[in-house]
Symmetry: C2
């Protein structure tokens, strides 16, 4: 499996998207965010998507030549219409609107519709952190993307909606949570199937409500994801769906949705409206140290804070490069060749 410097993957992604007609700015945004996912260790949201997005452009799901547009706003809020451009471009622009609003009013909330898939939600919260703010983002499947059973129910009724939150600290990394309401994301079933592995008990349920650890049951559409933590993860999924779907024109999840994508709820909170920035970051830093100093449970070498593993992956991969699976690399090469991009 080949290993690449992050910059080289960014260049390849950027040139592919430019060649197929994206503007230099959007090509760069999307390519960088995909590589960012690889750096964080979320390879399922990384450059594996380059050929997929090329297909999505060809079939008109991702519309080039559109720009995110503020449809409605107050000093602290906005609704952004992504006009079905790149989801990554829309989400980044919307977080930037939230941050600008929070500069003025201490809090900015932006909801988003007509937005394609945005990849890893945890890619956008650091924009708020870099601006001295806390960042939050939730999604639903823009009414679609149904993959998870409700607690007490059967079948694919809800999407595996997600939430990411991040706070600055004065330690090496921000505290950054990025979770789905499902026990595990659907992408993990595809990885397990490709590797011929079973998945842990508690991730999947068959159509008649029996547990299964066969990832193929999910990939073939017969099994459903299960919410994490029973009624609690289910309840969080409902909350993410309402925040993302009912506060935007996209709507919550439904039986038949004409489109698929991500509706979003994005929030930035300016920390110094509450406490001085250095007091906040040192308090979060102290809290990190305090929690990590706890004794380890049997089978654990250390206690990790939310976001610490992604940060370590990033340090490691920036230094040692990103390993790309052969199949993924072949697919990227095929697209690159077709578009006359040198790899």
């Amino acid at each position: 499996m080949p290993t690449f410097k992050p910059d080289e993957l960014c260049r390849i992604g950027r040139e592919i998207y430019e060649q197929i007609g994206a503007s230099p700015e959007e090509a760069e945004t999307v390519a960088n965010l995909l590589v960012d996912a690889n750096l964080a260790g979320h390879d399922s949201h990384g450059v594996v998507r380059i050929p997929q997005y090329v297909s999505a452009i060809k079939r008109g799901q991702i519309k080039l030549g559109t720009s995110p547009e503020i449809e409605k706003e107050t000093a602290a809020t906005a609704i952004v219409n992504g006009h079905w451009g790149f989801g990554h471009v829309t989400a980044k622009a919307a977080m930037e609107v939230a941050i600008e609003k929070a500069r003025e009013t201490a809090v900015g909330i932006v909801t988003v519709h007509q937005c394609n898939h945005i990849g890893r939600l945890g890619a956008y919260t650091p924009l708020a952190v870099d601006a001295g703010m806390a960042g939050l983002i939730t999604n639903n499947g823009h009414g679609a993307d149904r993959s998870m059973a409700p607690f007490g129910g059967l079948g694919r009724i809800l999407p595996a909606s997600c939430m990411a939150v991040a706070f600055p600290s004065d330690r090496d990394f921000p505290v950054a949570l990025d979770l789905t309401a499902a026990a595990a994301a659907g992408g993990k079933m595809r990885v397990a199937l490709a590797r011929g592995e079973k998945v842990p008990e508690g991730w999947l349920m068959t159509a008649d409500g029996q547990p299964t650890n066969e990832p193929g049951d999910y990939v073939n559409g017969s099994a459903s994801l299960v919410p994490f933590g029973g009624h609690k993860g289910y309840g969080l999924g409902i909350v993410f769906d309402i925040l993302s779907g009912a506060f935007s024109p996209a709507g919550c999840t439904r039986e038949k949705s004409p489109v698929t994508g991500n509706a979003l709820f994005i929030q930035a909170i300016r920390i110094d409206a509450f406490v001085a920035m250095d007091e906040f970051t040192s308090e979060v830093g102290r809290f990190i140290d305090y929690v990590k100093a706890s004794d380890n449970a049997p089978g654990f070498d250390e206690i990790l804070m939310p976001g610490e593993r992604s940060w370590r992956n990033q340090v490691d991969r920036e230094a040692n490069g990103i390993v790309i699976e052969d199949k993924t690399w072949t697919e990227i090469c095929d697209v690159a060749q077709e578009l006359n991009v040198k790899v």
Copy 2:
């Protein structure tokens, strides 16, 4: 076990607190919120607390004659100092500040410190719902109240921090989530111990990291609560702690805290800044119907939305009265007699 009309319990609570020196307004607020918890079925946060708060007043933990004070504010944000008055009074006042700010700026965020325990977090989010808003509240233990192990760790390091969120709907009840980051709240261990029952696997861990289903191991201080859903519930607990503790002067959880109480993060979001109120409530109503129409899993009679069970409890108890355990009623009678309140 005696059964009471809610109004009668409100009167008894109000008169007890007035007799010990609370103002009529604060006596009414606290008594009503305690009965509100009984109505919702959360008896551990209900009138069982009447004698406990009388004790807390006597030993100076709850300070009478103080009022919540806005220490710092912007158009959209405030920090409220509860000056260690009744936690319920402080939390209600702080939610009202958040709602007032959201009337003007669409979003209001209020953090709170020097606040005693506020009881059930889900008691405050309906204030926002009644004002045409979404409400959110998180807490920590004001740096203390340590009861839960971190994921991968041992011992009582974190509090069982909580979050409540509520959204209006056009159906009979709002969608209202109220959860703790722990697999179960500590109060359930006391109830189980009193009843001589074991608790389910996965709620508790001994000091050396072994599972236990003996609630006495928790009540005697040797066992810890376990986060729900492993690293995800743990991560949520960290997020609630930072929101409540680092955005207020209270601080996050620490090894030695001089005080105990609840630091709070409270948010109100005005819905019509985003979509028309009737569109929002009918979309949430449609979503409720859609989810509830799913097929039931084996062992389930129906699918409940977050907040639906509390709402049913309320309808039932308003009609049929609130049953109070004999021991609780005896304790209330003792305090009432001491303070010349007729029961």
